[in-house]
Symmetry: C2
DNA sequence: TCAATAGTGTCTGTTAGACATTATGGA
DNA sequence: TCCATAATGTCTAACAGACACTATTGA
């Protein structure tokens, strides 16, 4: 629950609500991303959902708050917690706060649905109605994940410790929103020295079993050829 | 000046200070970026400098506050104002606030040194001591500018309406921190259809005069070849 | 004329994407 | 046996970077 207090600013007295920390927990599921929402009791027992949030505390940094909040909502620690942005617009937030800071948290595939009954995973294109500011936070988090994909190895945060190259490519395809060329994907991956094979193989349904790999970055490619003007309007 | 108020949280009473909005104004100068700092009176008349900042108001969005704050510090409107991140760590801020939101503002080259005497441009590798949180904001703003360079046409925000291709390449070199190949740069620029020539030419010192161009994006290149695993650790 | 900068044409090594082929298990 | 998926080799068009060259001004 938010802390509402009367604050004196100059000669006028305004109502101020403590800023909130909100967490967008994301995990891959069925070739889509899913987000964790909490059930909240709305007015007239109407069912409402919301991103996990809480009023900011002065006893810990916002990063610590976000990590704890994600852990509490999930039941275990996510593989990555990272700030998205502050949202200080006029959009509505469950707390009534004028300012909220959104965090993104990634959860490896195969995470069990959190027990406790009050939280559930929703595919991002099938989420129920949430407060407008939280919807903006979700959009911002998705944009941030996609933007950071080419700079940081965040795709591995959405996979268990060992995985097949097809699973890895699937994560990239989910995040990029387009299909990738298999041979090119593996060539680029090989050249980047990001993964190493294990001696395990996994058979799924028909077809040849796939070798399992693990994330094991070896060296930096400092090449960075050229200037890219792509994506510009 | 910050608003300090006594706020009741549960049974304890803590001192809370309103969050701040801080602006990192950047402009290119002499093949480097410069940042705008304001002179503030420190204790014992010691000279101190700080990024422009103010306590958050509930009467406008943080984006509006940042744009106004930048305009007031600069004397005119910057060409771009964009959020960097929220800083809610333990680092010291001039306000004493526990939370600050940093904004980045770009100013076209050739901006006059702001009159009024209390502000000045400093090359980013020669800045005086500022509060640790503001130093982190400056670093974050520089990182954000570089990260967005390949996604958005922000280089043009650091140039006047017309410019030579050598000036444009110089902006990219400042932001990327490395030299670029002239012919390749122009080829990629031509392929991206981002600029168009004017019929003006400018002669600077010796050498052949350079044609002036203006920013005029025509179409999107939706190509995006391949997956890039570069820059990963 | 020389120096300095603008702008362009050509060559070459690299690489993304297409295509084809082999490998290997399940139905 | 067929089918589905994994994994890999080869070819080609695109392109980044190097190099060389011309163009055009001021000193």
């Amino acid at each position: 629950m938010p802390n509402r207090t009367s604050v004196s600013v100059g000669r006028s007295s305004v109502r101020r609500t403590a800023p909130t920390v909100d967490v967008v927990l994301l995990t891959p599921h069925a070739r889509r991303l899913s987000v964790l929402l909490e059930r909240v009791e709305g007015a007239r027992s109407k069912e409402r959902w919301a991103l996990p949030w809480e009023a900011m505390r002065s006893t810990e940094t916002i990063e610590e708050s976000a990590a704890r909040l994600a852990r509490e909502a999930l039941g275990s620690s996510p593989s990555l917690v990272e700030q998205v942005a502050a949202y200080g617009d006029g959009r509505r937030h469950p707390s009534g706060a004028t300012l909220s800071v959104a965090f993104l948290a990634l959860v490896a595939a195969g995470a069990p649905a959190p027990v406790g009954g009050s939280t559930a995973w929703f595919a991002i294109d099938e989420i129920p109605a949430i407060a407008p500011r939280q919807k903006a936070m979700l959009d911002g988090a998705l944009h941030a994940v996609r933007a950071r994909l080419e700079q940081s190895p965040i795709a591995f945060r959405l996979l268990p410790a060992t995985f097949t190259l097809s699973e890895l490519q699937g994560i990239y395809e989910i995040l990029l929103g387009r299909r990738l060329h298999k041979a090119s994907f593996r060539r680029a991956l090989h050249a980047a020295w990001l993964v190493e094979p294990t001696d395990e193989w996994r058979s799924e349904g028909r077809g040849r079993p796939a070798q399992l790999f693990r994330y094991a970055p070896r060296k930096r490619r400092s090449s960075r050829r050229g200037v890219r003007f792509e994506g510009m309007e």
